[in-house]
Amino acid sequence: MTTDLLKVRNLKQYFPIKGGILGRKVNDVKAVDDISFEVKAGETLSIVGESGCGKSTTGRAILRLDEPTSGEVEFDGKDLLALSKKDMRKMRKNLQIIFQDPYASINPRQTVRQILSEAMNIQGVVPKDKQEDRIKELMDTVGLGPHQIDRFPHEFSGGQRQRIGIARALSVDPQMIICDESVSALDVSIQAQVLNLLKKLQKELDLTYLFISHDLGVVRHISDRVLVMYLGKIVEIADKKSLFDNPKHPYTKTLLSAIPVPDPTVKKEQIILKGDVPSPIDPPSGCRFHTRCPFATDKCKNEDPELRTNDDLMASGHRAACHYIEEIESGEMQPHE
């Protein structure tokens, strides 16, 4: 029985919008709106969704890079939101993040050595005299040569910079790493290198990943479980296999069908959604997907569906937030044009 390393309960992240003559708060962007999930020790849970669904905001809220509006975040048994700023900084030793563009988050005037030793000094994990060896070891781990130790970030390619970002995250020996679109900016051949590296490190160092991405190919490759978000809500969560082979929410189905398959012989049926994602400022009532859902009824307009399962149709741990899982499955409900 694996334990939950990270538990998120009823997390909300609202960003106020100022407006009107007096510049007062007139509304909120409901970026993340009441989501709960947990990440088990040693697994990779991916959060997928399109831009504006709240996936990155969730990662930032967990780390308190933006203070969440409400909810609970429990990491390794401790309530992160109750920690003082100082204790939270200490906690980040165990909970690291790697961003999409490592260049934006590393100081361009520091060499690899300085970047890595600074991270170690802040958390005080490695004594000064052992740092040199540890840095070289880390560089080797992420596939950089020891001769590159005194180089500056701009002397590296995008893929190598992402390796520096990974090395920095690893330098403090974290239990968990949040990867926020960490491979999205990389070319395919380099992306594969970094993905394989992340997988290898997970095995060797017993890491837990929260992997945030819009790329379902990448997600299928790296995840154990997958969580799909739409407009600040979780619409479906399941084991990787169950989610990709047996998606139950119409949004997940659409998302999967929309991805082009790199094989011209595969002729799949594509579901094309009408319109754009609505604004998270005034999200649709009821089920947030109802404005674009081919199956939507009045009930969808009025009632917000809960995440639920159906033992006959879904594997254990597979839950979807749709009123009509059974009816759609049985064919009783047909998409309307």
């Binding site: 070319d187 395919v188 190919g217 082009p260 011209p264």
Partner: protein, 343 residues
């Protein structure tokens, strides 16, 4: 490239950038043609020269870049021999282009309608009023709801997908023979990408135009293209019809690219990778440009650049393995491809 009827034929195109560090050969002897009414996908990773190729066709290369040589034959005439005024008559009229970033490709201070009308007015000699009516029609054609109202909208009032539709409306206003689309869906979400690709395909059929699609996304290629040219470090390394390219890729780079792609529709244990990285354009290797990363490379590959060999049925590959001069062990590129290093 045996197809008789091609809308555009690029021959030995060379485009370089002259910087203080010396000449950077971004496009170095590129050949391909786009069969009439078909879609050619030009695929490559960043730095392969695919976008520079597309801008060269439009003759939109800016200083310090310069088209050094070759020819681009469009409708039997060499675009590289045309005057700037003659090129202007072709741009946006017979050859149109859409770009990657819908957010920044539209002028923020003019309405969508004005921007669509402009091309139509320039090339068709219509009045502003007629052109604006055309803009409404075009918005309708590209599926923008309530076109009469949207024609007066500014770009910031539209979503990314809507802006890309507006870009397409601009490009197609004069009913071009060739559409050059440079990563048209890369900046969009997948559900919006699906809408836009479907729209482009539909309009291509309706208007009978040919398309050059520049992309890094092999999924998009498989779904929309008839022919594919794979570019690596300024050169075409493989050209084939789309089915052949995916089912029977010949160049080790193409194979590596396909094998390193994480797919959402099948399970893959470990991704094959292409070791190392794309060479910098100012430090191109001596022989075959892929040799330093190629698992099959021999001394021959490292010393001499192979030619683009014809394999029959219009398919071509630039690789020593497929020539009589290959002196390494017998290999099946597709089945034997293994990256030497795993990370």
């Amino acid at each position: 490239m045996t197809t008789t009827n091609s809308i555009i034929k690029v021959d030995d195109l060379q485009t370089s950038f002259f910087t203080h560090k010396g000449e950077i050969k971004a496009v170095d002897g590129v050949h391909f043609d786009v069969p009439a009414g078909k879609t050619l996908g030009l695929v490559g990773e960043s730095g392969s020269g695919k976008s520079i190729t597309s801008l060269s066709i439009m003759r939109l290369i800016e200083s310090p870049g310069k088209i050094k040589g070759g020819s681009i034959t469009f409708n039997g005439e060499d675009l590289l021999a045309k005057s700037e005024a003659e090129m202007r008559d072709i741009r946006g009229n017979q050859i149109s282009m859409i770009f990657q970033e819908p957010m920044t490709s539209l002028n923020p201070v003019y309405t969508i309608g004005d921007q669509i009308a402009e091309a139509y007015q320039i090339h068709q000699g219509k009045t502003k009023k007629e052109a604006l009516q055309k803009a409404v029609d075009m918005l309708e054609l590209v599926g923008i709801p309530s076109p009469k109202a949207r024609v007066k909208a500014y770009p910031h009032e539209l979503s990314g997908g809507m802006r890309q539709r507006a870009m397409i409306a601009i490009a197609l206003a004069c009913n071009p023979q060739l559409l050059v689309a440079d990563e048209p869906t890369t900046a969009l979400d997948v559900t919006i990408q699906a809408q836009i690709l479907r729209l482009i395909n539909r309009l291509q059929d309706e208007l009978g135009m040919s398309m050059l699609l520049i992309t890094h996304d092999l999924g998009v290629v498989a779904e929309t293209c008839d022919y594919v040219a794979v570019m690596y470090a300024g050169k075409i390394v493989e050209y084939a019809d789309v089915n052949t390219l995916f089912s029977n890729p010949k160049h080790p780079y193409t194979v590596g690219l396909l094998k390193s792609l994480p797919r959402h529709d099948i399970d893959q244990e470990e991704l094959e990778v292409i070791k190392g990285m794309v060479p910098r354009p100012d430090e191109l290797p001596e022989g075959c440009r892929f040799a330093p990363r190629c698992p099959f490379a021999t001394d021959l590959c490292r010393e001499r650049l192979p030619d683009l060999e014809d394999l029959g049925e219009g398919n071509q590959v630039r690789c020593w393995i497929h020539t009589d001069q290959w002196n390494g062990p017998e290999v099946n590129v597709k089945d034997d491809y293994r990256s030497a290093e795993s990370t």
